[in-house]
Symmetry: C2
Subunit: 588 residues, 2 copies
């Protein structure tokens, strides 16, 4: 049955909603696809349900295609399995926790590794039962600190999560490859630009993982690409250890008075004014060694300081750092913390006091770009003083290295062969080779061919379903409204009656019936008292790819077909309208 | 693609699960449709998903048929709207409440009247926008005190909830009638016996409501029917006020010593031993007036006593009482409560001290069967004493009446014309004329034809979707397993290879492909190392209505078709197998 605008639960808005920032999000609200209920929590209106259903169908088809079996686990889950794997604590504030009337702890599932693992443990016992692949399309819950951009990062959202179970790594690799190919098919069908990047496994654990990122300048993820096809999430970029440098001709370290230089910029100015280099070039931030202090808050409630040394022209990348220190969370090193470490001369901190063996006993990790043998200007651990020619390996050492420095456009690729370009993306899919982390924690073992118990090897695979609708909207719009790809659109054709003549409605009813008889889904603007101008505006806002306008021309046997994306219009004879629309929709 | 038993995520069980009581529940677990995760919280396995999908499709079809539009609201909801209607408190312990990281109160939606009401308020403003009917099929949450019987009463469950919005009562009646008819169609298709009964509106508020009850001896609801077509949930039965009796010849009330008669049984024995009636018959419980005390716990935390007077041969019906006093909850009147009311002589309490104007000041309500003018034996408010010939209206009065006495087989119908029969049922659907309760609380008004703001009139309509699967299983099974109705079955035909001969599998693969080409959904037992006996047992347990057995007979060109419900088997020629199975499935 046609969706009739006269009865459709819809109120299009001419103004942007106050709480939306991104163009696609604004349009989804204005065109009546979604409606905000609370931060990060949305209602799907009738048009939104159509689009969401299309995306779910694509995901379901491709999952079934690779033999994954659909199940549905509860969203409300017991604490114990998540306690066993540590995630009850590790998820921190992101996990919605609650208690039932008996004060039993429960949670709203963020992902379901534990539950699938236990179900398989309960039901299967032999290598003969494997391989196994299961999926569900289901509401997930994460109490995001900053729910943003509408359905791009919600607190209640629909995800397709899948899990594979194999007897060994070779089996896992095969399952992983199968999912990777299915994901390529899914994202090719969804109609937005994406890139597959090496990713960090984060709180999920496990070894190899890749992300499918929608390329989008408003994305929260930064990724890099080089000219040889390398692509990675910045969190997953491994800066190579710089090769050792010969420091035999480097002068001995010298402490200099550098008053009022607590920042890299003031330091560089002072150096250039008072300590001209012998090689003729000016000092810049890259010649300085910046030591950044943070506090790590561990899940058990303890706090621990950490010092990171990196070239002064680079910042610590908060996300890269988070990944390295997880499950600990990063907190600022505050004035009260400085008070507890009197040997730290704020603004003039140097390797002299940093390190587990030094006076502060603060763990000190270096950026891998700090080569052994390289010389630095850095803090002399006294207010107003810096030390020059301080050589790594000769004059100072650290407790290790850390991949936490920012990655910049033009940096060298990890393999040393390419040059990195940076772009922004939105995580749309993530595939993980979990290995045995969950199976070990929960005791999922099966008998192998020799009757020996072996731990099952798992993979986990996610697609953000509601998020996909958001990204498609961000990637498919113009100044007039949304422009859905055909496979995702809420209808195949939007029929607009541009007339107040009752006879035109009667004829259009008939055409709509004929279009439906051809299997087309029709959105029918049959509102008798709404002006053609408003109807056209609504049609462009809603974004069905083909618009059929039936109005005055009908008297001369003519109707108009408009392509929403190109804006092209063409007149066709009303007698040929059904064939013309079907051809347009089916692309012949 | 056929569901292949060799890879299907399934492990059938020969033993009943320890935590299941009802036959259908046991079989759903044993046959691998569902799996318990926590009390009242279940996972749907692949076969369960098929059945659940069938039920959802039926419900969705019938909702679309009456022009209701599908939407999806979040399950995680803000407190404020539920606070505005009072349900945040009224739901008591049944509501799952939680807080987010900012300590904002949230809840898991038990039903969504408030949210739909607010969405319509936000989007619509005129009578021209109405009527409107919306529905969703979605997870609901209720923290049941006693989750039981598997998916029949879960704490997370799928419900189809729908809401209608109209300008006036006539519109609501029309919407209500439409839903009622759609529900009749839905429940006719689902394959279990049901009855439509007058119902109490309970915590939902509103006026008229009817329940669709599955007739089931294990049901938690009791309903009555009479020979003239009257049917009601016992909570909704209105016992008529007994007509006044002429008490002019009744002797004056007399207090007698009745030592050791704190119960109706001991009292009746004592009466028959010591106080022979003048009319020749014996005393029985129906001659006595029993006064029952309970404590009402109000949502605001206060407690209030209530006394109920009813014939001594009847009990107070806990559910009928609950409905009358909601949102207060009923608690026992304990020893400490008696201590606070020294005028109550436990076991000998009479109307002498009960009532807001009497010494106890306890509100005193009578069963409507207590006629004005009727004479009673009842407590004399002194230990070991009762009073005889105490006449209602002459010797005592009460503060009102209450519909809380038990309803019994053989009672007269509310209209006085029929005789009630009792039966048990399971609530499968509930339709409510809510009226303006929610719209008033949340300010949902629209302009009427005269430009005047009027409050919108709502209806709400629910179907228990997961519960329906449970009831179908309870109603369709035998000693061997489940016996699904065709429209609900996880597959159209279960193909069993009863052979270890590879050639038979090859031929069966081909037959399965042909069956699928005819549009049939096939469950295919292709397990090469499993014995025919085990396969037959599994097929009976799983309960697909048509079983096709391909085995030794194939050499002679014969296969066997078995009807799961009747147990009938017939041989057919392998050349005609596809036609035969299609005919069997399609019923021609």
């Amino acid at each position: 049955m046609a969706l009739r605008m006269s009865t459709l639960f819809l109120r299009t808005l001419r103004e942007d909603p106050a709480d939306a920032e991104l163009p696609g999000h604004k349009l989804l609200v204005r065109a009546g696809y979604i409606r905000r209920v609370a931060p990060g929590i949305y209602t799907w209106l009738p048009l939104g349900m159509k689009v969401l259903g299309k995306v779910e169908d694509i995901v379901r088809e491709e999952m079934n295609q690779i033999g994954s079996q659909e199940v549905k686990f509860p969203a409300l889950l017991p604490r114990e399995p998540y306690e066993a794997t540590g995630r009850w604590t590790e998820y921190g504030d992101n996990l919605f926790r609650l208690q039932d009337r008996k004060e039993t702890d429960l949670l709203l599932g963020p992902t379901h590794e534990e539950m699938f693992c236990l179900a398989v443990k309960d039901m299967y016992s032999s290598y003969k039962d494997l391989p196994l692949s299961l999926y569900q399309i289901q509401n997930k819950y994460r109490d995001e600190a900053r729910p943003r951009a509408g359905i791009l990062r919600g607190r209640e959202f629909i995800m397709k999560d899948a899990y594979s179970f194999d007897i060994d790594q070779a089996g896992l690799q095969k399952a992983y490859d199968g999912f990777r190919e299915a994901y390529v098919r899914i994202f090719n069908r969804l109609g937005f630009e994406y890139v597959i990047v090496h990713a960090d496994s984060g709180a999920m654990g496990g070894s190899a993982s890749e992300e499918f990122l929608a390329v989008n300048e408003n994305g929260e993820d930064t990724f890099v690409r080089d000219e040889h096809g390398y692509a990675a999430n910045v969190e997953a970029v491994t800066v190579p250890q710089a090769a050792e440098i010969d420091a035999s001709s480097t002068p001995t370290a010298q402490v200099h008075d550098t008053p009022d230089t607590p920042t890299i910029a003031t330091l560089v100015d002072a150096l250039n004014a008072n300590h001209a280099r012998t090689d003729g070039r000016s000092w810049d931030g890259a010649d300085t060694l910046k030591n950044v202090l943070v506090m790590l808050a561990h899940p058990d409630g303890t706090r621990e300081p950490l010092a990171i040394g990196l070239p002064g022209d680079r910042e610590v990348d908060a996300k890269r750092l988070e990944v390295q220190v997880a499950p600990a969370e990063v907190e600022p090193f505050e004035e009260k913390d400085f008070a507890a470490y009197p040997m730290l001369a704020k603004g003039y901190i140097g390797p002299g006091v940093l390190g587990e063996e030094k006076s502060s006993k603060i763990r000190y990790l270096l950026d891998p770009s700090i080569a052994v043998g390289s010389a630095w200007v850095t803090g002399a651990d006294e207010h107003g003083k810096h030390v020059l020619h301080l050589v790594h390996g000769r004059d100072f050492t650290a407790d290790g290295t850390i991949q936490a420095g920012e990655i910049r456009q033009g940096d060298i690729s990890p393999d040393g062969k390419g040059t990195l370009k940076l772009a922004r993306g939105i995580e749309m899919g993530h595939i993980f080779q979990l290995g045995t982390k969950y199976a070990e924690a929960l005791g999922l073992k099966v008998l192998d061919e020799n009757g020996k118990l072996v731990t099952v090897t798992m993979g986990s695979y996610g697609v953000g379903v509601t998020r996909a609708v958001g990204v498609i909207a961000e990637d498919n719009n113009d100044e007039y409204g949304l422009v859905w790809p055909r496979e995702i659109a809420p209808a195949d054709v939007h029929v607009v009656v541009a007339s107040k003549d009752a006879a035109v409605y009667v004829r259009t009813d008939e055409i709509v019936r004929q279009l439906e008889a051809q299997g087309l889904a029709v959105l029918y603007d049959d509102r008798p008292k709404v002006s053609p101008g408003v109807k056209f505006k609504d049609a462009e806002l809603i974004g069905v790819p083909t618009i059929l306008v039936i109005g005055k021309g009908l008297a001369d046997g003519k109707v108009e077909i408009k392509d929403r994306r190109s804006g092209e219009r063409r007149e066709v004879a009303v007698d040929a309208v059904v064939t013309s629309v079907v051809d347009e929709v089916r692309g012949s």
